[in-house]
Point group: C2
Chain length 135, copies 2
């Protein structure tokens, strides 16, 4: 899958923590500080990769820049994501996002109101949960 | 210049207010509200177009997605902008941004901390000021 992306921002480094399933990449664009209270990262998910369930005390906004994937809030149906889509994730709502099984997903993740607290990571999205997407 | 852009987000509508010189286009991606305290717009400047001098009480972050142009803070030299650049504009700092004379510029403008107040528009960037760029 290397070098096929037309994304504007660098792919960055492979994410090595346990908050993701599959292979995802992160390039920070803006590190959080007390002036802007905002962090911005460019995230690329390889096919099948996704975040764990998680929530943001200050909310998050996703700008989809390439590929396709899914966004799901706990207890709701998943939403299909395409290049050009914007997702507003309300504060404290449990959710996950990631690539489609057969396509990469690249998005810019904007976390405002970081003074309200950092992301809270929860349990992985199981293969069973993930396999229900796109049906 | 129509339809040559490879930008991810729509070009939107031509800006008709007096806060810009030349022709610029705006597509709002996220409208401000009290949950996110953030507004996000996709802005495209035709060659030679630029904002007036202005400032943001809560600061602003620009993600350059296409073309080339300039960013200048009052009393400083202008900074050349290219696709992939990130500009952090501190709160209350007088500045302008816009396209190069011979190229379009497209950027995503992220305004955090909107609870601190709206953009304050000032006087136009004169042709003399603008002509000093890129020399």
């Amino acid at each position: 899958m290397e070098n096929k992306s037309t994304s504007v921002f660098p792919k960055g480094n492979k994410i090595t923590n346990n908050n993701f399933t599959g292979t995802a990449w992160l390039q920070m664009l803006v590190n959080n500080d007390s002036t802007y209270d905002t962090s911005i990262g460019n995230v690329t998910f390889e096919p099948g990769a996704r975040t764990n369930w998680h929530k943001h005390p200050g909310g998050q906004i996703l700008l989809i820049t390439d590929g396709s994937g899914y966004y799901q809030e706990k207890g709701k149906s998943a939403q299909l994501l395409h290049k050009g889509d914007v997702v507003k994730i309300p504060p404290d709502v449990e959710h996950w996002h990631g690539a489609a099984p057969d396509n990469e997903l690249t998005h810019i993740a904007i976390s405002p109101n970081t003074n309200k607290g950092s992301v809270i990571w929860l349990h992985p999205v199981t293969d069973e949960e993930y396999s229900q997407m796109g049906k």
